[in-house]
């Protein structure tokens, strides 16, 4: 791989493979299958997480969960998968339309369509976020 030509060829190969992946349709969004899926993801948090309340975005693209102590976990999409974050990872939440909540953190973002549940969760998030709403 020494010299600029082999490196340039390798770069071309990388671009070709990425284009092939895109062309074959490997750019789909993550989708939660239901409450069990969201709960299983949240339980992977350090120390675990047992939700007593949860709301899943209507498109399956994320979720908000609250445990008995009032702590809120956010499930946000990353490509075809998800990440789970707690308010300790600073974030802010704001309304983004009817029933829509935009949640952003240091390394994640989610647009959650919670419908009629949106206002209630926005209030919960306002209390949970150290960064404020």
């Amino acid at each position: 791989m020494s010299g600029p030509l082999p490196l340039a060829l390798a770069l071309l190969a990388v671009l070709a493979l990425v284009a092939l992946a895109h062309w074959l349709g490997f750019s789909r969004a993550a989708k939660l299958s239901g409450p069990d899926h969201a709960t299983a993801l949240a339980q992977s948090l350090p120390g675990g997480f047992s939700p007593v309340d949860l709301a899943i975005s209507r498109d399956g693209g994320g979720a908000l969960l609250r445990d008995a102590s009032g702590q809120v976990a956010i499930i946000a999409p990353v490509g075809a998968h998800f990440v789970v974050r707690l308010p300790a990872n600073r974030f802010y939440a704001r309304p983004a339309g009817k029933g829509l909540i935009e949640v952003r953190g240091e390394d994640f973002a989610a647009l959650l369509d919670l419908g009629e549940e949106g206002a209630r969760w926005l209030a919960i998030l306002s209390g949970a976020s150290p960064a404020g709403q």
Binding site: M1, L17, L20, F26, S27, S44, A76, D107, F108
Partner: protein, 294 residues
């Protein structure tokens, strides 16, 4: 520098990734790949080639110096090759185990694990900071006992080439004799998993016998779906963050930690914290009722 097998293997890597993409599409396994994830993995692979080429003269010079100090000479006889490959694989096992159990080394290795996908492109998700982490020290004993530096580096390259094909879900389990001796896709899926049962298991490069010998082997179970990635999954597809995020996290911890705890954030296992606010692999395993064999 001596024989480097990697350039010869790259065309095969490209063809096999393309074949795996087509296989995933054809069989409806649309979760097998993600375009941006693939771009990051292949970008890290390309960057690691550049980083490796930049570091190679220094690594070779250090090895040559050690070689000049030892009176031992194994030479280039045909049997030196399999002997060196075996010894190098043992050295790799300990390097890899340290790469998961010592945060300093983990900072360099974590990017190989930070994809939530497991496919052939993940194999190329290699480090840019191996030289910074001085992981080559694990190979120095081989030079000290008389293996030529060029031979050691060639064997290390062959080991890396072997490990490419085991990063796939396209291969289930292989014949028992093969699974007993060699690292396989099944064994390595366990290694890349975040399931508590699978954390910090199967560190082997080519021969899985080292894990069986040193108590770190865990077989893949049919009743437990593998979840890939790292305990704190990356939140995006920024290649620079993928390459350096753990080094930055170490830096933040070193600044914030009290003096007597600073060394722990460098040298203890990933997830260790002086105030117990985080979880190590062993703590996660215990929380799930899994005894740590180590």
């Amino acid at each position: 520098m001596g024989f480097d097998p990697l350039p010869y293997a790259v065309p095969l890597f490209v063809l096999l990734i393309a074949a795996e993409l087509l296989w995933a599409k054809r069989t409806g396994r649309m979760a097998a790949y993600e375009t941006r994830d693939t771009a990051v993995s292949l970008g890290l692979g390309l960057g690691s080639v550049v980083a490796g080429a930049l570091a190679a003269p220094a690594v070779l010079a250090i090895m040559a110096h050690i070689y000049s100090l030892t009176p031992l000479r194994i030479g280039w006889a045909w049997w030196a090759w399999p002997l060196c490959f075996l010894a190098d694989d043992l050295a790799y096992y300990w390097q890899h185990r340290a790469g998961h159990r010592v945060r300093w080394f983990w900072a360099s290795h974590v990017n190989h694990h930070s994809s939530q996908h497991y496919n052939l492109s993940t194999a190329l998700r290699q480090t840019w900071t191996g030289f910074l982490a001085i992981t080559f020290v694990f190979r120095l004993p081989l030079v000290a006992v008389g293996f030529a530096p060029e031979l050691v580096l060639a064997c290390a390259g062959l080991n890396l080439v072997y490990q490419f094909w085991i990063h796939t879900e396209a291969v289930g389990r292989l014949p028992r004799w093969f699974e007993a001796v060699f690292n396989t896709p099944s064994h390595h899926r366990v290694h890349h998993a975040t399931n508590p049962r699978y954390l910090d298991r199967n560190f082997a490069g080519t021969f899985i016998v080292w894990d069986r010998l040193f108590g770190t082997f865990e077989p893949e179970r049919d009743d437990e779906q593998v979840r890939y990635g790292i305990v704190h999954q990356l939140g995006g597809f920024n290649i620079l963050k993928a390459a350096f995020h753990e080094w930055l996290a170490i830096g933040r911890d070193l600044v914030r930690a009290p003096w007597k705890a600073k060394a722990g954030y460098l040298l203890r296992e990933p997830g260790w914290s002086h105030d117990g606010s985080r979880e190590t692999s062993a703590m996660i395993r215990r929380r799930h009722g899994i005894e740590d064999a180590q």
